[in-house]
């Protein structure tokens, strides 16, 4: 039911709301970081050895991809501020493309492990001992949850792109684009933590 007044717009409120929401997202992953640190502490050697099996190359490529995509979405915001609708859409398109490339890389990475019969609940993994079970359990769960966030972020950005196309988001009203950017930066930031935890700390 509309209350009969014009819609009251408050960009700062929208952004505050988004920041608070990002806070909760961070805490969602914080729970997993706690679990990770506890089990890493208890199974130091197994985690150390298992981390060697992940491809640092793909991990690094994915990190670079996400960092670039964060900068393209930031540039897209600047473009809309400068009333350059086409450039803004193009940059959003590149962001989405990079996000998809990230997912494809992730797919090959996961596929590689699964082909080697390393996935939660597999007999091969169970034989390798509890440390490995926990490492790969956490690996699949945390990167999986992160990938889910990437997918949500991509949908968000796609919706925003459509709104730009229809001139619903313009140079004087782009808070939604900014919020999608904030969300994308968060997804990026979480990966910045996941990458060293699983690939680099050995």
């Amino acid at each position: 039911m509309s209350t009969g007044t014009e819609i009251h717009r408050d960009d700062l409120a929208s952004k505050t709301g988004m920041w608070l929401f990002l806070f909760t997202e961070m805490l969602l992953f914080a729970g997993l970081f706690i679990v990770y640190s506890v089990y890493r502490y208890r199974n130091a050697t197994a985690f150390h050895l298992a981390a060697h099996e992940l491809s640092v190359f793909i991990g690094t490529v994915n990190t670079i991809i996400l960092l670039i995509s964060s900068s393209t979405i930031a540039m897209s915001i600047t473009a809309i501020q400068k009333k350059n609708k086409k450039l803004s859409l193009l940059l959003l398109g590149i962001t989405i493309l990079l996000g998809l490339v990230f997912l494809v890389n992730k797919y090959f990475e996961w596929g590689h492990h699964i082909r080697e019969n390393i996935y939660p609940g597999s007999a091969v993994l169970a034989q390798r001992g509890q440390g490995d079970v926990l490492f790969y359990g956490l690996y699949f769960f945390m990167t999986g949850l992160h990938a889910l966030h990437i997918i949500i972020g991509l949908i968000f950005i796609a919706v925003v792109g459509r709104l730009i196309l229809k001139d619903k988001i313009k140079s004087d009203n782009y808070v939604l684009l900014e919020n999608s950017g904030l969300y994308w930066h968060l997804v990026d930031l979480i990966w910045i933590f996941l990458f060293p935890l699983f690939y680099l700390i050995t």
């Binding site: 509309s2 007044t5 009251h8 709301g17 609940g121 509890q130 769960f141 949850l145």
Partner: protein
């Protein structure tokens, strides 16, 4: 903000929007209608949960099997817990009275994100539906208790997934409500309403909002881990796979202890409003009230370990958690002292909401002191997992939040509905409710000290007498509850018309007509005074 000034603006109940009938409610983004949506859904689930409790007490009237099997009893206390905690007590005051009153009390037209507000209600309904589905679908209802303790929660054959996911969705709904309120208070206070001119009920909602925001994600991820554990066999908390069940308890209580402050803080806020209004006197120690609310919310984060004193922790951790638990009592006590001091030399108007507030203080103190007994390490080892804990918990959560909920309902009923209720029946209901409550839960303290464990459908003959008294109390309580609810509903029809300010309250909601117009205020109020300026 709109500058439209329509003097004869229709009330929010009469307003004709785009939709008709029930759709004018379930598609409404008006905070007042959403508050009532929550009220009706929460009241429904409250009656469901209370009926389950009544049946459980009936089972306990005699040792051995009375009306239900052991497994059925397990399912009953699980559903009772999930429904009461996640669907009634946590959203209770914030989602109903917070939604309805918060924007009005700070002089705003609505919350910051009205559509998000409606979405929270939908998430709430979806969450509860999932919990209910878990009772009927699959291989039998969940039987873990509302705490979903590992490793049993992924070993049991019970249908855990919908229940756990339902709790997750309810948590999400709670986060969005808290987020909405926080932004509303930061951005939409009326001109001149500085933070320290904000009434106490919004203040408690502010602290609650932060707790909802900062604690709920932790239970969210923990519940997701339980789901992953059951479906994918990951091993987070499964000792056979290297996981640690104690870690689950830590994560669970990291949320679920702050969650009791989500339950009690808005209750304290509502009680503060009631006491100052019916004492016709400024609240005593306003700044201390604000500080104690924030202190409770803050220290409340660091006491979760007191749920796990017997689970295995280092000595240092035990002492620290025990000390912190005692520290939480200080701000709570400050609030009680300030309530009493507010009444001192006030012009007290003895009305139903005020009686509820007095009853609240009484049961809250019993609950609080029994909490200190449980917080001391030596006593805890003896009392852990006995009926003493059940009694303490119900004194705080049902006695605290429940009494405050009904107090708030009787306090704001004239404002919300525009009708007065029958005071005589309201008081009779309250007396029965109070007597029933005390009779139901007090014997549990004794039973607990004598060693009767919680969560069993059977008990030794020595506990028989206490259980009979307790069960009879549940009948009185339930009849009191029935009278209260029937009285309020029949007053909708037969009640006399309520004035704008029937109690002589000073906060903003009493400056507008009852029921409030659709836009709350004809003109945005300009605040120059503190919230409770009585001369």
């Amino acid at each position: 903000m709109s500058t439209q000034k329509d003097i004869a603006e229709p009330s929010y109940l009469d307003y004709k929007g785009k939709y008709k009938g029930i759709f004018s409610w379930i598609f409404s983004t008006d905070h007042k209608r959403i508050g009532l949506l929550y009220l009706f859904s929460i009241l429904t689930f409250f009656v469901v949960g209370a009926t389950l409790g009544l049946l459980m007490k009936f089972e306990l009237i005699a040792p051995g099997k009375t009306v239900m099997s052991a497994q059925a009893y397990n399912a009953f206390f699980t559903l009772h817990g999930i429904v009461m905690i996640f669907a009634v007590v946590i959203p209770g005051l914030p989602a109903v009275f917070g939604n309805f009153m918060l924007p009005i009390m700070i002089g705003a037209k609505d919350v910051a994100f009205p559509r998000l507000n409606l979405m929270s209600w939908y998430l709430y309904v979806i969450g509860v539906s999932l919990v209910i589905v878990s009772q009927f679908a699959g291989e039998g209802p969940p039987d873990t208790g509302w705490t979903f303790y590992a490793p049993y929660s992924f070993r049991t054959a019970g249908n855990m997934l919908p229940a756990v996911f339902g709790a997750f969705v309810l948590g999400f709904s709670s986060i969005l409500t808290g987020l909405n309120f926080l932004v509303t208070m930061h951005r939409m206070r009326a001109p001149g309403m500085t933070w320290l001119k904000m009434p106490l009920f919004p203040w408690t909602l502010y602290a609650t909002g932060w707790v909802q925001l900062l604690a709920t994600p932790v239970i969210g991820i923990t519940l997701l881990m339980i789901i992953a554990e059951r479906t994918l066999n990951i091993g987070f908390f499964d000792p056979t796979l290297g996981g640690d069940p104690i870690l689950y308890q830590h994560l669970f209580w990291t949320y679920s202890h702050p969650a009791v402050y989500i339950m009690i803080l808005p209750a304290m806020g509502a009680i503060s409003e009631i006491i100052t209004t019916f004492s016709h006197k400024t609240i005593f120690g306003y700044k201390f009230m604000v500080a104690s609310v924030l202190a409770i919310a803050f220290v409340g984060y660091f006491v979760w370990g007191h749920h796990m004193f017997t689970s295995g922790m280092s000595g240092t951790a035990l002492y620290t958690f025990s000390l912190l638990t005692f520290l939480v009592a200080i701000p709570s006590a400050i609030k009680v002292f300030n309530w009493i001091s507010t009444m001192h030399k006030g012009s007290i108007d003895l009305q139903t909401p005020f009686y509820w507030a007095i009853a609240f203080i009484f049961v809250f103190m019993i609950g609080g002191f029994s909490g200190l007994i449980l917080g001391s390490l030596a006593a805890n080892v003896h009392l852990h997992n006995t009926h003493f804990v059940v009694a303490h918990f119900h004194f705080i959560v049902f006695g605290g939040t429940g009494f405050a909920f009904f107090g708030a309902a009787h306090y704001w009923f004239p404002k919300i509905t525009g009708k007065m209720y029958d005071t005589r029946w309201a008081n009779i209901g309250l007396i029965l409710f109070f007597i029933g409550f005390i009779t139901l839960y007090s014997p549990m303290f004794v039973l607990g000290i004598e060693g009767m464990p919680r969560r069993y459908y059977d008990y030794d003959e020595v506990f028989h007498a206490g259980n009979i008294i307790s069960t009879m109390g549940s009948w009185v309580l339930y009849s009191g509850l029935a009278i209260i609810i029937i009285n309020l509903f029949s007053s909708l029809r037969s009640g006399t018309k309520a004035l704008a300010d029937p109690w002589g309250g000073k906060t903003l909601e009493w400056t507008i007509p009852s029921p409030p117009p659709i836009e709350n205020f004809d003109e945005t109020p300009i605040i120059t005074k503190g919230p409770y300026e009585y001369k």
